[in-house]
Symmetry: C7
Subunit: 273 residues, 7 copies
């Protein structure tokens, strides 16, 4: 058919069409307003029950939901308008064909980023300020968007990680962390005596980052030149390295005082005649 | 066709339609009620037969089944209503086209999470409190949902693992665990004597975490400076490391007493003229 | 069309329909009964010919076959009933569209589990109690279902392995296993003498787990400080480690008696003026 | 149908068609002009608010947007012209069939490059001159296009990286970097004294690249022959290696002056009788 | 339509249908017989020309071909029967829809196993009894079916390898194998003298598994304490390790006799004042 | 329909058809000629502006563009001829069905090779004679085609790399390269003195391949027996190894002259009583 | 429809059909003959211009082309015959449906093998007798077919490599190969003297496999106990290892004569009081 003629005809016949379009627009906009208001109300009630720190997260979830509902209503409400002008959506899509498929595949990872990002928010997997590990990258969460998570590594690096590539995530700021030290003592030492001195040390030292007291676990290995003693302490998140360094210095000083040897590697030499 | 006119007509003709919708809704809701009641009844009988610890798991499976049946009935029952208003579902889906395909691919891992999560629950692969290993992550199961499993590692890390990425799973809390120690003795020692003293030690020591007695297996390796003796003990889950440390200390003390040498590395030195 | 009216009409006209449904149900159920009976008969004959240990495996295969035949007949027989009520299956599936595709992809690994599981059963790749290795996991098969295989590792771990992830499988309980020992002797020793003493030892020792006699293979390597002698013995499955430990102790004792040296690492030292 | 005859007829009938085409072209071109002008206006306002360094990035985004809008309008506006000549686009695409699918898959990575490139620009993940790491390649960003990013490695290599292969990106020029030094001191040294001397050194030295002062963290490891002391300093991006070398030299000189030993590897030798 | 009524009608009208079915069956069965006979004849002629060892392989290929031809003829011949009863195959498949797609993906690896297995047979890549390597698994081929290949490893393991996972295959039983020995002599030795003594040795020793004579290649490496001499010998498949052990013992004995030194690791020691 | 009859009819009716075909051919060929000429003209202008070394690259791009335009015109122009003979292209493709899909997947990597190859040319990623690295393969580019790139490794290997497998590419011939040397000096040396002597050396030596002067960076590591000094020099591509060897010899000679020690590994030996 | 009746009718009406079939067959066969002859003629001319060694390759390409053209003509020519018997190809394919898709995926790697194999032949990537490396497998090409390449490794292994798995290929028989030796001399030696003696040696020795002369590159590394000197020589393919062994022996002999030391590892020992 002749499109120009059609446009002319459409214009001529469009007086009732204009009413249609107006009505469709009115209904759609009202529907959007109502549903937005309902979502806001729902979250107002809910958020009163939550602690303040999570308000930002709730606002993010709320605005995502408003967006999804809004665009879905617009899409459903306004598609018929295209039908009024007899534009065949299907044929446009068919013409886009091969290219469209390629874009679909290309955009796939974008969609995956957003879906994963939504779940990270909804399940509160981490918050800005948490120390997290994603595969071999770690750092403090500096920013969290629907598409990417930005980590600040301890050496200053800024890691930009698309959420869709976050498969398994380790959050190192939920609950107490463990400081873990292994110290070797000579085979000649009496193990019970060493453990006794260590436990005595841990009873006397004080460190605000240690939760409870450090503990001597016992003999964790028979090394080639030393017996390895394992020591743990529970401590506040992000302070585990500090506590480990603190304990190492205290143990070294105590060993020096008590005369307990941290042995160098030993070799037995047999001279052949 | 003119949609507004259609809506007008639909409204004019909708008195019988309203009855249809009402009837459809009524039938659907009744069907949901009945099937929910039937599922509840089925699980009531079944759960009487099970031990108490598994009640929570059964409740989860029950509520999942209720959800699936409920939404399937709603979907089958209410789709015809859309047909009454002559909304063409197919064309909406076709219009969503390319985007929909992309979402389909993106959401794929979500579906996989849920299916795998359902099987983990159904087959009771692990329970909250179990010590499990998933690839290179391990820890105590802290929470288990349909989408993710949350592990608490021994160093305090919280691992968040989507169920769909759990391919092979190792549960370290089903049955007794094995404590495994290898201790090297000098080539100069008499092996039979050493094994005899070890077995005598294991007969005398007592540890509530060891099931039965520890056992000396024999010579597991000819090392470069020592003969390696292997020792095992069955013990209660999560206590294997404790038992290993306990046995190492007891062996070290016994060796000291008996004069059995744990050798340092030995080198034979040949002086060239 | 007006669905309610249709339902009314269907009811009015359903007296012959009820007969149809009844007839369809009757025919279908009879077909199921007959085919179940035929499969049972087939396996009864067959199973008489098989050894008793495999009866459980045959029962599993039989019940799988009964299930497949039964549900196929039901599906073919009862689909026309939906047609009688003029429910358009196709359009429901089309409406499920995008979601269905996603589920299809998600459920894909479930189907793969079952197909692989069926072949493991049919080809009798392993039985409960066998020692098998799947990639880097090994253990005794504790349970085998269509979806997962459960291994009990020697250290007590329970590995839950979906059958679909079992690509290549190593069964270590089919036929005799090999115990393999390498023992180093000093370069100063006469190799022929050492081999002669070893063979003499193997002629005199007895161990119920060794099939035939252990054998000295010869010089398998020129090490940095020792000549390596290789020794093998065929033994019963799951006893190879026991035999290896037994042989090592016997060889050590014989070497002590014969004065054959297992050398420490040797270094030639050149003093620079 | 006879195409030549059709062409003849089209020509004969094309006088109104020519008008159609002209009208379509006119409308399309006007639409392009207007939308281009609107985008330009939008960015003019916005860019006034931004700092000067980002102007180039904004221009790139603007020109991408103009391109997308322009070609979309052309596509929608001019497709009907093909319809006027009764060329069946669909059948051409269908005929291209198999080949087209292959091209679609092949071009997929091209589309992915462009989508990822667009996000890198939009989110300002890095700028020309930044030091970035992509997997195992690193360098200074030399050029950034929609399809590839070109890095100049410190050894002169030019890395050409398609944007679609950039999954996770580390930007080492956002904020201060960390210089990290580990220095070993003999077990015989007094740790508190060493730390005190180091801190005194860091108070006195000056280096324009260090932000604040370098800090001694404490004992980071018990080595086989030395106690390891960790030292950090925040410094300006790209100067961390310079600062590390500067600090190492200062520490070496201070240790020489103070007589603090950086120990060689130590061995304890036991002579066997 | 009313299916029961149709069945009734079909039965009433089925007298000619029965003739149709009979005729179809007759024609199909005759076609199968003829084609089976033709394939058998083809292989009878061919197999006369082949050596006896390959008869089993030919029989396997023949029976596969008979199966393929037979089921293809049945499928083509009997599909029309379904058409006679007006069963709509297409709609059944459509109804199976989503599930069918999933099965298709799941069964994919089964098909791949069979296709690869067919090529292994056709190209005679290996025979039962050959020593083959597939990726990191090796062993003697114990059984070869269309779906899996079963290897018996030298330590007794039974590897079950689906053919579809065999990408690259190494057959170690086609032609002579190479025994490869590297022996280190002191830097102080005269290389030409050593090579001369080795070649003299190889001229005098005899071993039925060596094809021709062993050969001294020359200096393959300057080691830290020794000059490495490479020696090769061609030998019969599966005897390479035996030959290597035999040669090592002969070389050791010859070196002892000739006074050629296989050096221990040497260190030059510089005493610091 | 009866095809032979159709052919007869086509022949009878083909007098006007022949004219059609002739006209189509004529129009198509003219269109090809014109567009080829236009492309040639476009590149003639452009190439005048470019340096001579890139002429070959421009010719390649030109001939690719001519090919693409030519075959596209032929395809669009000649497809209607098939229509004239009423050959149904679609059904042929449909019949090719399954096989075609398989070919499509198989040819996919071919298409990817060509697309990537085109971008390598267009973006001038490397030229014949450049030293490039693709993953773990490196060498001088010897030939570059649309499908493969051929590298000549320094050891003479010819690497044949399909372009589609080139993901990330490193070009080592764009700009100056870095020679990098690390030399260890004894802890006893005065670092400032060593750096001073090195810088003095670099001021005096001359080498045409070094751009500017070599530079001493400072202390790059505290080694176990030596302090490591880092030295860099910018140099012409492909001469970096030459410059490194040259600098090492000069430094060794200078150190010999100045009496600066490159230390052997040092061990502190403690004799146990 | 009633197929038997149709067959009867077809037979009754098949007299003109037989003529059709005959005519189609005749035309098709003639077309095949002509095109085969044309291809043969084309290659006859071409092959006269090529060297003899490549004749076999050309024959392979020719016979592949003949096959492709022949089967394409048969397919196009004979498909209409099926149409004459009113067999609906499409429905057969549709019925094969799910299975066909699975086969398509399964056969995919077969197609990929053939396409890659064709390019290896066409681009003459290697010939029988060449030494090639494919990933981690290497050897002399023993046989090359469209589906697989068979390599004979130097240790006698026969590698069977499907062409589709050959991504990147290294041909080690195109042009001269490089022999590469690194020899360490004591830090006490004068480097210029050593290089001078080496170059003098290379001027005097003769070896038919060396192209030109071996060359001393200079100091390639500062080792822990020695200065490493690099030496290269260009040599004929497959002789590089021979040349390396030859040069090592000559250098060793020359060093012995000249008194240049190849040093053992050196340690500086510091005795602690």
């Amino acid at each position: 058919m002749n499109i120009l003629y059609k446009i002319y005809n459409d214009l001529r016949l469009s007086i009732p069409n204009l009413i249609q379009i107006g009505a469709l627009l009115t209904v759609t906009i009202i529907a959007v307003k109502i549903s937005t208001a309902l979502i806001n109300k729902f979250f107002e009630n809910k958020s009163r029950l939550k602690i303040i720190g999570e308000e930002k997260r709730l606002n993010t979830i709320k605005s995502i939901m408003v967006s999804i509902v809004k665009y879905t209503i617009y899409f459903i409400g306004l598609t018929p308008i295209l039908g009024i002008f007899e534009i065949n959506i299907g044929s446009l899509i068919a013409a886009a064909g091969v290219g469209g498929l390629a874009i679909g595949f290309g955009a796939q990872s974008l969609i995956k980023d957003i879906i994963t990002g939504f779940f990270i928010l909804l399940e509160n997997q981490f918050q800005v300020g948490d120390h997290v590990v994603v595969d071999n990258l770690s750092g403090i969460v500096e920013e969290m968007t629907l598409r990417v998570t930005i980590l600040r590594d301890f050496n200053g690096d800024m890691h930009i990680i698309p959420n869709g590539t976050i498969n398994r995530l380790t959050n190192k700021c939920r609950g107490s962390m463990r400081a873990w030290i292994e110290v070797g003592v000579a085979y000649e030492e009496n193990i019970d005596h060493v453990i006794d001195r260590l436990n005595h040390l841990f009873d006397t030292i004080e460190n605000e980052n240690i939760i409870g007291k450090a503990q001597t676990l016992g003999v964790t290995n028979f090394g080639s030149s030393e017996v390895t003693i394992g020591i743990i302490a529970r401590c506040k998140p992000l302070n585990q390295w500090h506590v480990e360094r603190f304990l190492r210095k205290e143990i070294k000083n105590m060993f020096d005082k008590e005369g307990i040897e941290i042995p160098y590697e030993k070799r037995v030499i047999i001279k052949e005649k």
